[in-house]
């Protein structure tokens, strides 16, 4: 069900939410968190809502969407409430602010009365994010702030901002996209021979924040020299990791962006699907952890330890 409340106020929205609950029991009260999505009005808002609805099947939540309209327009708040089939397992409130209501401060002011009592608040900027999310009025309300440098207009600049402005509680989907890679590498080291890693090379697209981040993570965790190189592979994003050990290297290669090969000395090549993860999948993972991700913070700091390689790494599939 979708209820439109044009030219409205947040107290009217709150009243309507209670009314809907009493009228049809359409909304359960078992929401575990409030997810605040900050975006510009338009198609990207719908995509973000869809991702949130998918994630809500795992994490029932209230989703507040701040869709910023034109700043030139007259001050107006158009609200929309979606519940039931139109909202996955969540309840969605879309707040379209125009004019002065499209500013950051006004956005936070609209969010506060609609936050669920006691439940954690997660802020998510699906595209462009403030330079320092924790300083943003909405970012300050949240204990977890999720950004996505790759979806920003300028990923390199956005990622630089993530590095310089990081505080505990921030995380970026460039990190979430690495989880499968990291898990495969960690599992490879779980198995014998248990030898120390003596060096690592990480290769990927020239502009690939995830690749940098993986290199940073390895540098911090392994305490060895890690090189970040470009790659000849056309698959995009990360393409290979090589961990050098005395008995030979462990290699995880993904030339086509879909299927990876795990290569270890004295063992047959093993193939596994390692596609790039979609945003809904990443968001669901993010919502699983509401405490600060210290490992991510360390990996960001570790990028400074990584040396840059110039010659591209050739992947032999």
């Amino acid at each position: 069900m979708i209820v439109d409340l044009p030219s409205s106020t947040t107290s009217a929205v709150n009243r309507k939410l209670v009314e809907l609950r009493e009228a049809g029991g359409v909304m359960a009260l078992g929401r575990v968190l409030t997810l605040v999505i900050v975006t510009d009005d338009g198609g990207s808002a719908e995509q973000a809502i869809e991702a949130a609805n998918a994630a809500s099947r795992e994490h029932p939540c209230r989703v507040l969407v701040i869709a910023r309209g034109s700043r030139q327009a007259a001050a107006r708040l158009d609200a929309q409430i979606r519940v039931g089939g139109d909202a996955g397992a969540s309840e969605v409130v879309v707040l379209r602010g125009y004019g002065p209501l499209a500013s950051e401060d006004a956005g936070a002011g609209m969010v506060v009365p609609l936050l669920l009592p006691d439940a954690p608040v997660v802020a998510w900027w699906p595209a462009d994010a403030p330079a320092v999310p924790s300083d943003d009025p909405i970012g300050r309300l949240a204990q977890r702030r999720i950004t996505d440098a790759l979806s920003a207009r300028n990923p390199t600049k956005a990622f630089e901002q993530r590095r310089s402005g990081h505080v505990a509680g921030d995380s970026d989907l460039t990190w979430t996209r690495l989880t499968h890679w990291r898990a495969l590498l960690a599992t490879a080291l779980d198995n014998p021979p248990h030898e120390p890693v003596t060096g690592a090379v990480v290769a990927g697209e020239a502009v690939s924040p995830s690749t940098d981040l993986l290199a940073g993570w390895l540098a911090v965790r392994l305490g060895v020299k890690v090189k970040r190189s470009p790659s000849t592979a056309g698959g995009g994003g990360m393409s290979s990791v090589q961990l050098a050990r005395r008995s030979g290297s462990i290699e995880l290669l993904r030339p086509d962006g879909r299927t990876a090969t795990l290569r270890q000395p004295g063992q047959p090549d093993r193939m596994i699907v390692l596609s790039r993860r979609g945003v809904p999948d990443c968001l669901a993972e993010e919502l699983r952890r509401l405490d600060p991700d210290e490992i991510y913070g360390e990996a960001l700091a570790g990028i400074g330890l990584v040396s840059r390689g110039r010659s591209p790494v050739n992947l032999v599939p």
Partner: protein
């Protein structure tokens, strides 16, 4: 003060090697099984098609299986390798929880093998051994293999002997061999000990994984979280406040088509001995020192050792057998008319027992366990019923409709927790009535929470034993139940008939009424 770490820390392995890429703070990193393969005996069976194969695909789809994972089917059916692949594909398409992705399937299917043969066929097991060696070479399974015996227990001895004879059960150095077995773990204490001996002769106890799929369920694991992570419940989780506990596992389906397994076994052996006593252990156990599997099992064994039947058994137990009738708009037949059953069958399809846990915490609190087929609806729940408030400053008329407070853990379906307590009815009069407060994992979210079999198969491959009962638990459970089975067998009358779709025979109600209690309608 920082507590001293007990046992291994995250990332630390048995030989003292610490994996530098693992960190206990890194909670995103899932544990992926190391290189390994799974062999399923009885791969043509229902369980294999409906649960095991889909679970394996779901694990692969979630990226939790190792690259190069191998699945070997063993059955008498004269299949080519492709036929086996088709059967798995069909099972996955029909029953998998996660969406079908061709690329995941393709990579998984490369590791499928099928070995045809019967259990007494030496040649077939030699062929199986060659297949596994070949997989080690081609797929890199590293000599690590789990054998899933999805077969009747009567076939265990011969399969175990064959595995030993063909050298498949021998583990050396870094390689592991594990065996997975399903209930029934025997039909009484004697047969359970015998079965354990047969299996332990070939596989050491730490390589034996007994599946009780209830323990793989989120809600059961949540009982521990509910009790030990909260301050709210544990203080009242004892005989001072708890009046009694009811543990129910009800099914609305009948037993048609399962005559071969069920006739002569009955509900008590099928469900109470394993599932319900395990649920009781989780509900009643003391807080483990840590969540390591050893500590957890130690507490479960302690509480099972303290559990004893309440007599006299003819009054404190009940058994029933469903009769034909209309159930939920459908005409159904009674057990005696079901195909394959003895028309004089004395097999019980409903069983209820009363036990007590002889500890300071639970002294005097009865635990009522019941299970049955063709009951009102399919439900499994643990209901902790509290005593009435010692003093009510209300007139009797005000609290007429106030029942006992209850905390109900809904194990399945509609997983969640319900609390029941009194609340004032709105109006000018003081009137108190029961209301419920509900926490639901919610039916809509179950797609995100893994199936029990996914969790359990992954734990087998990881060698993580917490959720699997050990032989001591199995044997103790039989010890608890055996006197009931003997008492029932000794009686001349058979189980009490109850109409399909009801909540069991009258004797079940009488068994609670003797102490002034009633069954909850779940």
């Amino acid at each position: 003060m920082t507590p001293m770490p007990t046992g291994r820390t995250a990332g630390q392995l048995a030989d003292g090697w610490t994996n530098p890429l693992r960190d206990p703070r890194d909670k995103r990193l899932p544990r992926i099984a190391g290189p390994c393969g799974l062999v399923i005996f009885g791969v043509t069976g229902d369980l294999s098609r409906k649960k095991l194969m889909p679970a394996i695909y779901d694990l692969a789809n979630r990226g939790l299986l190792p690259p190069g994972f191998a699945l070997v089917g063993f059955a008498r059916r004269d299949w080519a390798a492709e036929d086996f692949g088709d059967v798995v594909l069909k099972a996955v398409r029909e029953h998998a929880r996660t969406p079908f992705r061709q690329e995941v399937w393709d990579k998984l299917a490369e590791g499928f093998r099928f070995v045809q043969g019967s259990f007494d066929d030496d040649h077939a097991f030699d062929q199986l051994a060659r297949t596994l060696h070949d997989l080690d070479r081609v797929r890199g399974t590293g000599g690590n293999h789990a054998f899933y015996l999805s077969i009747p227990p009567s076939a265990f001895p011969v399969v175990c002997k064959q595995l030993a004879r063909s050298g498949l059960s021998a583990q050396d150095g870094d390689q592991w061999r594990r065996v997975v077995i399903e209930k029934p773990f025997g039909h009484d204490l004697g047969s359970a000990i015998e079965l354990n001996e047969i299996v332990n002769e070939v596989f050491p106890e730490d390589s034996v994984f007994r599946i009780d799929h209830y323990l793989g369920k989120e809600t059961v694991q949540n009982v521990l979280a509910l009790r030990f992570a909260n301050q709210l419940f544990e203080p009242i989780w004892n005989s001072h406040y708890v009046d009694h506990v009811q543990i129910t596992m009800a099914e609305d389906i009948g037993l048609g088509g399962r005559a071969g397994y069920y006739d002569g076994i009955g509900a008590a052996r099928d469900v109470i001995q394993n599932h319900l006593l395990q649920l009781l252990a989780f509900t009643a156990m003391e807080e483990p020192v840590s969540f390591s599997s050893d500590e957890l099992r130690a507490e479960k064994i302690k509480v099972l050792n303290a559990t004893r039947l309440v007599g006299p058994l003819e009054e404190t137990t009940a058994r029933g057998q469903y009769t034909g009738g209309w159930q939920g708009g459908e005409k159904v037949v009674g057990l005696k008319e079901e195909e394959g059953y003895d028309p004089e069958s004395r097999t019980e399809t409903f069983a209820a027992i009363t036990v007590e846990v002889d500890t300071r915490r639970w002294a005097g609190v009865p635990f009522y366990l019941r299970t049955g087929k063709r009951l009102g609806r399919r439900v499994t729940e643990i209901a902790v019923i509290f005593k009435r408030a010692p003093h009510l400053p209300f007139d009797a008329t005000m609290t007429e409709e106030l029942g006992q407070n209850a905390l109900v853990v809904r194990v399945q379906p509609d997983e969640g927790v319900t609390m029941r307590f009194g609340s004032k009815v709105p109006g000018s009069q003081m009137e108190v009535r029961d209301v419920t407060m509900d926490f639901g994992y919610g039916t809509a979210f179950t797609e995100a929470s893994p199936e029990a079999y996914e969790r359990l198969i992954l734990d087998v491959l990881l060698g993580e034993p917490s959720l699997f009962p050990v032989n001591q638990e199995v044997e103790r459970s039989w010890q608890i139940l055996d006197p009931v089975l003997e008492a029932w067998a000794a009686r001349e009358d058979g189980p009490d008939p109850y109409p399909a779709g009801s909540w069991g025979p009258d004797s079940a109600n009488r068994m609670l009424a003797r102490t002034g209690r009633t069954w909850r309608r779940p």
